[in-house]
Symmetry: C2
Subunit: 282 residues, 2 copies
């Protein structure tokens, strides 16, 4: 598969690059961004952290606002930031153009409902197609971890828990912890998967975590701001905690007074998350 370079910027001695490519899985053109730390090449390969962004975002938000490059450069981490949905004029959007469904809101599921099933296959895209591209074109070590924010935190947890053999560690900032039990999730799962709630379960990290074998579960770090406007109605990290307790899994759930849902929060704790992943990717 071929990549088209859109732009590149040197940052903290490495390179931030944006690429465009044809996605067979999503049946459209997709864009992603990658950070390559200094010194990485064919003879010095690096592990990859996949980053999944939240509602309304694309590949740019994390790269511009997360303040991750200094630590990524020091730790020798490649970071790949994916887009949050298929894109293009032919891609069906929310019928009313809402921010929480359709474009910018793919929820990292494989849609089964028309017309969304034509393009919204973000689970397979993140799990298979994008890593295959990265592995083909960049000097990766083969080890990978996953993280994300809000809807992307949900995506990181679901992808990580369902593919625990692939990911050395999982983290999330303010994830939608149980999309089967919050308004954002209920709307998205109904629209993409239909009304049979049994099909929703494989995209609910709290339900998945309760059934996860503790010995096979990758290390888990969650950071949550306590001044986050979405905490009680949409995010519900207590459901993840309850599942972790039930399964005997040592979830690290850090709660930070005063912090909100923004990238100001992410940028305050991204260094901690990168160190967490680097330790498990070593």
């Amino acid at each position: 598969m071929s990549l088209e370079l859109i732009s590149k910027n040197k940052v903290h001695g490495g390179w931030h690059k944006r690429y465009r490519h044809e996605s067979a899985v999503n049946n459209c053109t997709m864009t992603f961004a990658i950070y390559l730390p200094p010194g990485v090449d064919e003879s010095q390969r690096a592990p990859v952290l996949y980053w999944l962004s939240g509602l309304t975002c694309n590949d740019e938000n994390f790269m511009q606002k997360a303040a991750a490059f200094k630590s990524a450069a020091e730790l020798g981490l490649i970071i790949v930031a994916a887009d949050t949905s298929p894109r293009g004029e032919q891609v069906a959007d929310d019928k009313e153009g809402a921010y929480d469904f359709g474009l910018g809101a793919g929820f990292y599921v494989n849609a089964t409902q028309a017309p969304y099933d034509q393009h919204y296959q973000m689970y397979d895209y993140i799990n298979e197609e994008l890593p295959a591209l990265i592995n083909e074109h960049f000097p990766v070590s083969g080890k990978q971890s996953i993280s994300g924010h809000s809807m992307g935190g949900h995506g990181a947890l679901v992808l990580g828990l369902r593919n625990s053999d692939k990911f050395a560690s999982i983290s999330a900032f303010a994830p939608i912890a149980s999309p089967t039990r919050c308004p954002w999730g209920e709307k998205a799962l109904t629209g993409y998967l239909g009304n049979d709630k049994q099909t929703w379960r494989e995209y609910d990290s709290s339900l998945l975590l309760a059934e996860t074998n503790a010995e096979q579960c990758p290390p888990l770090l969650i950071s949550q701001g306590l001044a986050d406007d979405f905490l009680q109605q949409q995010l519900k990290p207590e459901l993840l905690q309850a599942s972790a307790d039930e399964a005997g899994i040592a979830l690290i759930l850090e709660q930070h007074p005063g912090y909100d849902h923004s990238y100001f929060f992410i940028s305050s704790f991204i260094d901690q998350h990168l160190r967490f992943h680097a330790k498990h990717l070593a």
Copy 2:
């Protein structure tokens, strides 16, 4: 003068806040952003770094993209990010809506030409009105420095050199080093100041630097990316260097291969600039 809080975000233990206020100098409503590092209050006052942004920017770009908060928190620096022009429907813009004149492009001058003289008094705004507001409402120590990017680097150098008693140190990223001798500057100075080029001289940092007394010049740090698309035609740091040499001033001009004009460049070297200022503000 009163301030209206627009928003606040906790970040690296401190607070990013945006405020709106009526500006007597610019005859309109202005917006600025401030970072207050942790632990700052009436009994523990902090020095202030004023940040001036470049063309098309407002108070948000630096705060979202510069990755400055971790170091600012550690160093105990307040950072104030100003807007780049007066704002509002009544404020005259470039007649063709260009990005390099009018709204978002005040060039930190006091305009003398109609209709721009009604609102475009950014030099006095940054030099007098904004610091008076900051000093009235926030726990500042009284010491201050100034920095900026591109058009804002020009602004920082001009403000700093013309008010060397007020600023402990001056720095700039990719400044427009001599606006009397580049297309961006020639357009702006003609529009705001008219055709008498004698009036332009007080807004040209390279010309000002050549006439600066070395013993009274604040410490100067300039960072320039060598892959900056604007380097040769618009920025011309060699003119600053020549003036510094002429005046016997120890300008620190760091040139960085591969870096461009973006915030990816700024974020790579902002820690160095903050440490530079903190040393001179101590």
